[in-house]
């Protein structure tokens, strides 16, 4: 299986490390220019391409690690060439585009995977398993917390351009929207407030969202680009009828480093705990086996689309100061 990675930024680099741990081979990288793709191509003994179109004949699977606003066109190209596709989250910036993306892949007969990596983090996967086991009973309230610092970029910071990333709710909180749906099912109502809706010039981004699931479970989602780099904290509480699950990344850090050094934070923070296998690798292995042997994956493209739907509703709620009611199951999705 030959893999072509589109986008050689932070996520392209992270995915490349993961693919190496699978039987697949990375054969190509492409970025805006050949020069940009060259470094990773050299490192992985792959070819640097000037465009996705040029790379397509030499790969079997396309892994899209580009800014969100570029996803649809790249998926179209790859699907038209009959390639299975892995697409970074969020799938798209709006529901219509996402639905179109799913349709394009279905019509072309290619598989589309969405990289909602949080489902592959062992602490989140373990919590899901405990809930699914049923001993704790039904979840009643859920807290999901994810906060780090504003993504940095040397030039053209697409993360901070709402038209390109969808902002904090779409780019960061969507992880937890997807996870909340995984734990407690479909969402009925979304109410969100953001610092941006209060003060658009604020030097921090922070969003609080209350989701009401169709079964009545309440989820509270905290997302932030507000801490000083390199802090990245995540946390979850799943409070059930017959017990509670609690995780806090700070409290569960097995190592605390108290060494003097110059602050040197990566452009984009990733939550990290020492593990034998990176969650990104776990994720890509699962996608590999799904493509190679047709096995099921824990997160589908439709899940990705539904997460986009919740994030879009949250953005509308924050902008308009009102709850947004989602269409029940069976609507356009």
């Amino acid at each position: 299986m030959r893999i072509g990675i589109v986008g050689t930024g932070f996520m392209g680099t992270t995915h490349a490390k993961g693919w190496v741990e699978t039987p697949a081979r990375i054969t190509g990288f492409c970025a805006e220019t050949v020069a940009e793709a060259a470094a990773l191509a050299d490192q992985y003994h792959a070819k640097a391409f000037a465009s996705l179109a040029a790379m397509l004949p030499e790969v079997d699977v396309v892994d899209i690690c580009t800014p969100t606003y570029l996803h649809l066109e790249q998926v179209r190209l790859a699907a038209a060439a009959g390639k299975d596709i892995i697409c970074e989250k969020p799938l798209t910036l709006d529901v219509e585009t996402g639905a179109e993306m799913l349709r394009v892949c279905e019509d072309a007969g290619v598989r589309l995977f969405v990289a909602h990596v949080v489902r592959y983090f062992p602490e989140y996967a373990a919590a899901k398993k405990i809930v699914a086991d049923g001993k704790l009973g039904k979840p009643g309230t859920i807290h999901l917390r994810r906060c780090n610092y504003r993504p940095k970029k040397a030039a053209g910071n697409w993360f901070l351009d709402d038209a390109k990333s969808g902002g904090l709710l779409m780019d960061l909180s969507i992880h937890d929207f997807d996870y909340a749906r995984w734990i407690a099912g479909e969402v009925k109502t979304v109410f969100s407030t953001t610092v941006g809706s209060m003060d658009k010039d604020a030097p921090v981004d922070y969003a609080l969202t209350i989701l009401t699931h169709e079964d009545g479970t309440l989820s509270h989602i905290t997302g932030g680009w507000a801490y000083p780099a390199p802090n990245f904290q995540t946390g979850l509480d799943i409070n059930c009828e017959r017990g509670n699950i609690h995780f806090d990344s700070v409290a569960s850090a097995p190592i605390r480093v108290l060494i003097r050094e110059e602050q040197n934070a990566p452009d984009v923070g990733l939550p990290a705990s020492p593990l034998a296998e990176s969650p990104y690798t776990t994720e890509l292995k699962e996608f590999y086996h799904a493509i190679a042997q047709g096995e099921a994956v824990r997160v589908t493209a439709l899940d990705g689309l539904k997460a986009v739907q919740i994030a879009c509703a949250a953005r509308v709620s924050a902008a308009e100061g009102r709850p947004v009611f989602l269409e029940p199951q069976g609507g356009v999705l």
Binding site: K138, P139, G140, T141, H143, R145, C147, T189, F191, T193, V195, M198, D199, A202, P203, V204, Y206, L208, I210, T212, G216, T217, L218, H220, T222, G224, A226, Y227, P228, D237, N239, E241, R242, G243, N244, G321, R322, P323
Partner: protein, 331 residues
């Protein structure tokens, strides 16, 4: 010598306050009155103090001040009795009342009789909370944008049955646990709540009680600051303590994370074959009672007012309206 009595032992906080009152130098505890004969007998014996069901006998001890710990819906009646008896210093348990109308009446009665009315908000006296307020007030953290907060606990019927009685308590989790954080955020931001969105359910102990056991609210203040509060009774009966109070405040320069009850020892014992927590932090109930006594001694209003209690009652009322309608309620 300042004399203080307690009106009703319905609220379990009375058990703490009686010890707090006795711990203040130059203060005499005059006893307590409770219309419930069984409670009067039980707690009188437990604390070895004068206890009566007769209000006249209670007031005959001439207390300078009273602390009211009745069921929530009886606060108004207790305040009326105290004011009729000429009491000029009243500290009333939160929530001040179960309806905005009752709370308004309490505040008006106190004002008309020039009574120093304090609402019992002990979290304002929590040492970690005070430290955070000082940091925020100093400007070191920059402008405040929002709070993400939780005041979750066990279902309080564990301590007193009436806490889950709609009539006596005025509701469930929203009534019980929105007040503390709402009051703290009003105090810290110096702004009033303008709009409330709330959701509630019976996720915990379903079917056991007639009130909501889970709730989440989003408050928007007039100055633009917003805050989310989870007030659910989500902690199981065997949780190591009653619950907790946490918040993260996000500012222009980052964030401060507060766990007001983090100052605890973790104790493993053969006796319970497990873990328990032992608080070693400063006693905020004591600091609150100290302030009530200081306000009496110095003949000034206490630092927390009846008005503060009224404002939070209005917010809770709006939260119930929002939870019922599904929409945002503007105050």
């Amino acid at each position: 010598m300042i004399k203080i009595g307690i009106m009703s032992f319905a609220h379990l906080h009375a058990e703490a306050y009686i010890q707090n009152i006795r711990a203040v130098p130059d203060v005499t505890f005059t006893g307590f009155v409770d219309p419930d004969a069984e409670r009067a007998e039980k707690f009188g014996r437990l604390f070895n103090v004068p206890a009566t069901t007769d209000f006249d006998r209670f007031f005959a001890q001439k207390p300078d001040g009273v602390v009211i710990c009745s069921e929530n819906n009886a606060h108004l009646e207790m305040v009326e009795r105290a004011i009729d008896a000429g009491i000029k210093q009243i500290c009333c348990e939160k929530p001040l009342a179960t309806t905005p109308a009752d709370a308004r009446r309490i505040v008006d009665l106190a004002a008309a009789s020039r009574v120093n009315l304090m609402t019992a908000f002990p979290m304002r006296f929590s040492a970690p909370v005070l430290e955070v307020k000082r940091t925020l007030d100093s400007g070191a953290a920059g402008k405040i944008f929002c709070f993400s907060a939780s005041n979750e606990g066990r279902m309080p019927s564990l301590y007193r049955e009436w806490f889950v009685d709609k009539e006596l308590a005025g509701g469930g989790a929203l009534q019980d646990h929105l007040v503390h954080l709402t009051d703290l955020f009003r105090w810290i931001t110096r702004s009033e709540v303008q709009a409330v969105y709330a959701q509630s359910s019976q996720a915990f102990h379903p079917g056991e009680v007639a009130v909501e056991t889970a709730g989440m609210a989003m408050l928007k203040f007039r100055n633009g600051v917003f805050a989310s509060i989870d007030c659910s009774w989500s902690r199981p009966d065997y949780y190591p303590t009653w619950g907790g109070l946490n918040f993260e405040v996000v500012t222009a320069r980052g964030a401060l994370q507060v766990d007001a009850f983090r100052q605890k020892l973790t104790v493993f014992s053969h006796e319970i074959q497990g873990q328990s927590w032992v608080d070693w932090g400063s006693d905020s109930n004591q600091a609150m009672i100290d302030e009530f006594v200081a306000s009496i001694r110095e003949q000034r209003p206490a630092s927390v007012s009846g008005e503060d209690g009224l404002r939070t009652v209005e917010v809770i009322h709006a939260a119930y309206e929002s939870a019922a309608s599904g929409g945002v309620v503007t105050l």
